[in-house]
Amino acid sequence: MKKTKTSYLLRGTPSVLLVLGAGFVMASSADIRAALGMGAAVLLSMLLSSIVVSALHKVIPAYAKMPAYLLIITGFVSLISMLMQAWFPLVVDMLGVHLATLAVSAVVYRDAEEVADHNGEATSIKTALVTGIFFTVVMVACALIREVLGNATIWGQPIAFLEDYKISALAGAFGGYLVLAIVMAVINKLTGLHHHIEEKEDNC
């Protein structure tokens, strides 16, 4: 199959199409601030590692690519984590261990291996940006639902009239996956993305 730019962009929405990032979405979308923080971390780590991987992919031999790319991703995640601890300690507290596990995330590694490893910097940057932004949008959408309906707060501020009606289950893991599934179904329906992928694959 010819890998077109469009398919790369469409393939760069793992939370919607491939559910690779479902764990991060569930863990980080209980609060809008945490969702934005994790989304920013994913976007930055994806962008920076894509740039470096696409710049070095011809230099690094095939047998060394996997450990090298993992080290690059881990390095950038560590640097981003240090910056977030300094500037956004509250968000880091909310994210807990999930920020550190971004280093071994399939979302970021997949982007490095499948896109950056086979393309130039321009395509890699575009794909990373699209993937990261869509990932962030999905997380924020889930966080909005979970925080408002599950916690009766928004941006940490209480919503008094919802206090008696909040659905606590939405704030937990079960609620996180439930909301993600609903959001994914809505996005798929609105954009028809999964049909586009199937058509492209059929035409290969």
């Binding site: 690094i60 031999p61 047998y63 060394a64 450990p67 090298a68 080290l71 690059i72 881990t74 390095g75 950038f76 560590s78 640097l79 240090m82 910056l83 601890q85 300094a86 500037w87 300690p89 209480p158 206090e163």
Partner: protein, 415 residues
């Protein structure tokens, strides 16, 4: 060769990123350290608005009760923050509070540092915040602080924890003690002179009665009464006996007959009659009971009614106690003329029969029979306790202890 090349590439990556992290740490390290230090102070800042830094002075203080674990001085001169804990009969998990006190001895902030049982005790956010707000501006008297209905045990523990915290500062001459009004002093005397009065609540009264309190369990009434410029506390138990106390806690009944008469009149008009219930119970558990005679007790416990009666030539004494366990309990204790328990019964021992039957094969009949023959000399209280039903069995223990005390007072009066 491949291995060497691979390792070389990885080494270069590690060196580059390691150097980058080292360099970045020079910038972010101090910021992260400052953030961590600030986070450590968050629990103290929650009780001391505007606080910037704190000095731990716990080791320099004397007369620290076990409930007070940490004392800090706010370094810019705002006051003190005390970490104090309390426990309740409801849970063994401590309620830990942070209390901020300014240099004038007024509470400037309170916060629940931790409470292991919060989820099960109705401490919802708004209720908690509203309750905590009642402490702000209070001095050590805590005169205007009340308890929260529905979480009485927890709010009592909270108030006690705050009182202990204030007490430490007063004992070490760090703040001046608040001055309690006579009304407050006398009201706080009620649990001491009438320990059986459960959850006294205000009722309407007139005349010399400034404040009338009725025990929720029907054990009696407490009145703050005025005579001239002085105030006194009158307590009337359910059998009609009355005692008068002054602000020092001294029994001055003999010198204030008029107050006692007025107090008894109000109590008599408003007291629930428990004699009928006790008589009915005696008729059920003691065959051929005759000559049932009501007794007046001079104890102010959970006993709401007392009688003597005969079975043949033997004399018995029956006591009806309304102590408070998980719920209000009605316990009946019958003691023979030698002071040994002849019968013990309750309207319902445990609030759910299924819960009671689950205790290692113990059944209700066995539990009750375990009390028969016990006297006040052999009574330790442990005979009543069921390990996993502490609150309810403590109520039975209290009822039995009160029955023995009432019996002793009756026999002492007969002597």
């Amino acid at each position: 060769m491949k291995l060497v090349k691979t390792l070389s590439i990885l080494l270069v990556i590690v060196i580059i990123f390691g150097s980058a992290m080292f360099a970045l740490d020079l910038y972010t390290g101090p910021i992260i350290d400052a953030n961590n230090a600030g986070a450590a102070n968050d629990r103290l800042n929650a009780a001391m608005p505007g606080g910037t830094g704190y000095e731990d002075i716990t080791a320099t203080l004397s007369d620290l009760p076990a409930s007070v674990t940490e004392v800090y001085r706010e370094t810019s001169g705002l006051g003190y923050v005390i970490i104090s804990s309390g426990t309740t009969d409801y849970s063994t998990l401590p309620l830990v509070v942070a209390v901020g006190v300014d240099l004038e001895g007024k509470i400037c902030g309170v916060n629940i540092d931790s409470y292991g049982d919060a989820a099960g005790n109705n401490w919802n956010t708004k209720l908690t915040q509203d309750y905590l707000a009642t402490y702000i501006g209070q001095d050590s008297t805590l005169a205007d602080v009340t308890l929260i209905a529905g979480v009485t045990y927890s709010s009592t523990a909270f108030k006690n924890a705050v009182a202990d915290a204030m007490g430490v500062l007063i004992a070490n001459d760090m703040i001046a003690a608040g001055v309690k009004s006579d009304l407050q002093i006398l009201t706080e005397l009620v649990p001491t002179v009438a320990p059986g009065f459960v959850k006294p609540a205000e009722v309407t009264a007139s005349g010399n009665i400034q404040l009338a309190l009725k025990a929720e369990n029907g054990a009696g009434f407490a009145y703050v009464m005025g005579e001239g410029d002085a105030s006194f506390l009158a307590v009337v138990n359910a059998t009609g006996a009355c005692k008068i106390y002054d602000v020092e806690g001294t029994d001055v009944t003999a010198a204030h007959e008029a107050l006692a008469t007025e107090a008894k009149a109000h109590a008599s008009a408003n007291q629930t009659d428990y004699l009928a219930a006790l008589t009915t119970k005696i008729g059920r558990v003691m065959a051929d009971a005759t000559d049932i005679t009501a007794l007046e007790l001079d104890t102010f416990s959970s006993i709401v009614s007392a009688v003597s009666f005969k079975v043949g030539d033997a004399t018995y004494y029956g006591f009806y106690s309304r102590s408070y366990g998980f719920h209000q309990m009605d316990v009946f204790v019958i003691i023979d003329e030698n002071g040994a328990i002849a019968k013990l019964d309750a309207t319902q021992f445990i609030f759910e029969k299924e819960y009671f039957m689950g205790f290692g094969g113990m059944n209700e009949t066995e539990y009750k029979n375990g009390f028969v023959g016990i006297t006040s000399d052999t009574w330790t209280g442990e005979e009543a306790i069921i390990a996993t039903a502490t609150m309810t069995s403590n109520a039975v223990k209290q009822s039995t202890t009160d029955a023995f005390a009432a019996f002793d007072s009756v026999k002492g009066g007969e002597a």
